[in-house]
Symmetry: C2
Subunit: 334 residues, 2 copies
């Protein structure tokens, strides 16, 4: 990698990012906790403490359906919730560009307060750094979330089994479409709104009713296709996605057509891919639809023992492989 430079694609959530991170993480930071490569880490010990960290660099920092403050709470809350833990605490670290209007900072703090209250988490530690004008872009936020896992279930990317069903709790691509429209100054008849939301309440309801959830993961950067691919690799299984079953808004399809994008690769911020034993799938759909963040929940795929990655079963009966994302379709989406 001599003389190579970091590219935007290294942050895409796709292939280049995976190669970079797997390379460096394996070489320098390998340990049994990190090596699991989930979006959360379980600290060993009686109390089963779960930890997840994320930095948010979304552009613009205010968008239809939320802002970077709401996103920074929801993104990390959702990662911790995907472990099956109760999310309890957040740390909050701000990197602010000189010249940011203090009123904007205050709005962002209000969003953080509102989202963390909805999620039922406390902000327990913080940090503020200010960099010169031109050394950041408005504001970047890191949150680290801490949860306590009191249920005994094995939940993670490594526990998926052939025969499992794959559920999503609603429409895909809303977040990316909202950011895209907002950046490009587009207005559609039905404008897209980010789905950014804290999903820990919905997850709690699901886990109270279903005991065979194998894995939950939020399809953010890289979208459903990329995240399904990650999990297929972790569990060494194949995944079929049913094109006709995918819930998508008409306006998102419109944006995709306009920009030549595929909704399966577009980021979501209020969605989970849920892998669950087939016999519990209908029950799960019922529970999810009872929550405001799961009204359009649908079974969108199944797990197979064919190790061929992620395959899309199209509406016309053909099938095509959903490869890992290469390059960067929409930088700074989260």
């Amino acid at each position: 990698m001599k003389n190579e430079l970091i590219l935007l694609a290294h942050g895409s959530g796709g292939k280049q990012m995976r190669k970079l991170i797997e390379g460096f993480a394996g070489k320098y930071f390998s340990n049994p906790i990190l090596d699991k490569m989930n979006d959360f880490a379980q600290i060993d010990g009686g109390s089963k403490t779960i930890v997840s960290t994320d930095s948010f660099v979304i552009k613009p920092y205010k968008f239809p359906g939320g802002d970077i403050g709401k996103l920074a709470v929801c993104g990390t809350v959702n990662d911790v919730a995907c472990s099956g833990a109760d999310v309890k605490y957040l740390t909050l670290a701000l990197i602010i560009e000189e010249g940011l209007p203090i009123a904007d900072l205050e709005d962002i703090c209000k969003s953080i307060k509102k989202a963390s209250e909805e999620a039922g988490v406390l902000v327990i530690a913080g940090d503020t750094k200010v960099v010169e004008h031109g050394a950041a872009d408005g504001i970047y936020i890191n949150t680290t979330g801490i949860g306590i896992k009191s249920i005994d279930a094995d939940i993670g990317g490594e526990f998926v089994q052939p025969g499992d069903k794959i559920i999503i709790n609603g429409n895909i691509g809303d977040h990316a479409a909202a950011i895209l429209a907002c950046r490009e100054g587009l207005s559609f008849t039905t404008p897209s709104v980010s789905d950014c939301a804290p999903l820990n309440g919905m997850v709690k309801e699901l886990l109270a009713q279903c005991s065979n959830v194998r894995c939950m993961r939020d399809p953010t950067r890289g979208g459903v296709a990329t995240v399904a691919g990650e999990i297929a690799r972790q569990s060494k299984v194949g995944i079929n996605i049913f094109e006709q079953a995918l819930p998508i808004e008409q306006s998102v399809l419109g944006a995709c057509e306009l920009f030549g994008m595929d909704p399966l690769y577009m980021a979501n911020e209020g969605k989970l891919l849920i892998f669950i034993a087939a016999e519990e799938a209908d029950k799960a759909i019922e529970v999810l639809r009872g929550n405001k963040y799961g009204k359009n929940a649908a079974i969108i795929g199944e797990v197979t023992d064919k190790k061929q990655g992620v395959v899309l079963q199209t509406a016309i009966g053909s099938s095509r492989i959903l490869d890992e994302l290469t390059g960067e379709i929409l930088p700074r989406i989260c």
Copy 2:
């Protein structure tokens, strides 16, 4: 604050930063854990989990005595260690500017590995974001540290008492002087080297021998004067600093003279201010001097019941108040 903008001074560690953070933290995030305003947070519960978060934006990201990777490990390890906890885990979140040489990223990862091995901490979770060229400055790193406190002592900024002695484990100002010389392209006969170091081992030795440590805090942004002022406010006490007792390198004094800076306000990254019961102070000095990071440990002040902030007893017998830092003397020092 309408129409007001964020200034570099809001990140200085001084007065403007305190006002901004106290204002927003009090207004939006108040809770018993955060409100203690220590550099670490103790999560309630049997296991006494301690958490601290910090983002690092130092410029340049490579400097005499370390780099942003080493700093990001040491800074957070030291904050957690100051609670009296064993530091166990770190999360690691990178914000990388497009165009960063991958070889530099690899060097930074090597530093993180080396420092975390010395400190005995595991990196358990990570995140990587890439922003466009010009939307960051090389690389910014957030680390969140997690420790387990197994000793029963009350240690924190709120536990300092009149009569306590104040100890520092060595020379002050080395970090800031090294960064300054490096930025300005200066070469002194004896060049300054950052004191950046993980101090959790030294703290462990200290706490094994001394049971009346009231507070430890690393005087980073704002230096000894500013951090002493924070603690004086937290414990509602006065603080006397003895000018003649302050250990300072000749080269740091030289840099201070050249730039009109006061070493008492200059950042350190391998130093702790230790507040301890008077009767244990000599014992503490002995223990600290036995550690490689405490060779020049000295008693540099004492705590009084006069609520007059921080007062410097000068070499010529006069005294002057060490006010909070206002403005920003050296941005992006950590």
